[in-house]
Symmetry: C2
Subunit: 135 residues, 2 copies
Amino acid sequence: MDNRRKTSKKREAVLAALRAVEDHPTAETLYMRLKPDYPELSLGTVYRNLSVLLEEGLAATVATVDGQLRYDGRTEPHAHFICRRCRRVLDLELPDTVTPMYRAIREELGCAPEGHSLNVSGLCAACRSAGRAGN
Amino acid sequence: MDNRRKTSKKREAVLAALRAVEDHPTAETLYMRLKPDYPELSLGTVYRNLSVLLEEGLAATVATVDGQLRYDGRTEPHAHFICRRCRRVLDLELPDTVTPMYRAIREELGCAPEGHSLNVSGLCAACRSAGRAGN
DNA sequence: CTCTTTGCAAAGAGTTTGCAGGGTG
DNA sequence: CACCCTGCAAACTCTTTGCAAAGAG
């Protein structure tokens, strides 16, 4: 067996599309964005390539929102804000509270932390001002 | 329309089962645990009752692990440790770093935080000692 | 009695997978 | 030219939903 990975235009396109945007798209959103430029692209290929990118550490998952996985092209650890109204996912830049937390977990529980995800939910700024009336 | 909620043995049982355990079961796990005592129970009812309990704030969701939603009977905010090997979800007692974080989010981004979830992943203590050889 | 809850089974939705053909090294 | 990657569509899995019957107030 060979197992070496070959370069693929589609995979590069998926990664580029993921990195090009600030939002945290679903597989289907990525598919729809790429479709105009790659008319023969199929949704299955997007899923397959996303899973390869995750495996290679070039992409990450944020969370499952409304039953759909959200992907992220940024792999440095950072937190997210998930709006309960528009369902947008925003990046949060927060000071690092992780290092001491990891040490505490290791020492008190004997677990070996390797990564984490911090998602804050609520109403984003846009929805706050838009929605004074409803909700 | 009436809309008043009626008490239901099944719903109480679901909540009790959720509170009885330290783990963070899936709907199906709960179903299998309850089945011996409620032989006529159906999986759909578990799902329906879980969603009612979430709505009433009596239960919470932790995260989607391997495509299945994990539920939690504890509703005070707390963090979780998700083992990448045995897929167990453990409670973490961490000092509160949230209050200042919420304020920062509100002031810098204009978002209104309402809740959050913090999940740390890695190897749990049991898997660490068990798995010296593999993985 | 009225409205909610339930069992059952079918429908939905997101994701994965098998296969035959095309692409890359 | 060996093996990976892709399109297509079917298969899978988790969750939701419609309906008629049972249960609660």
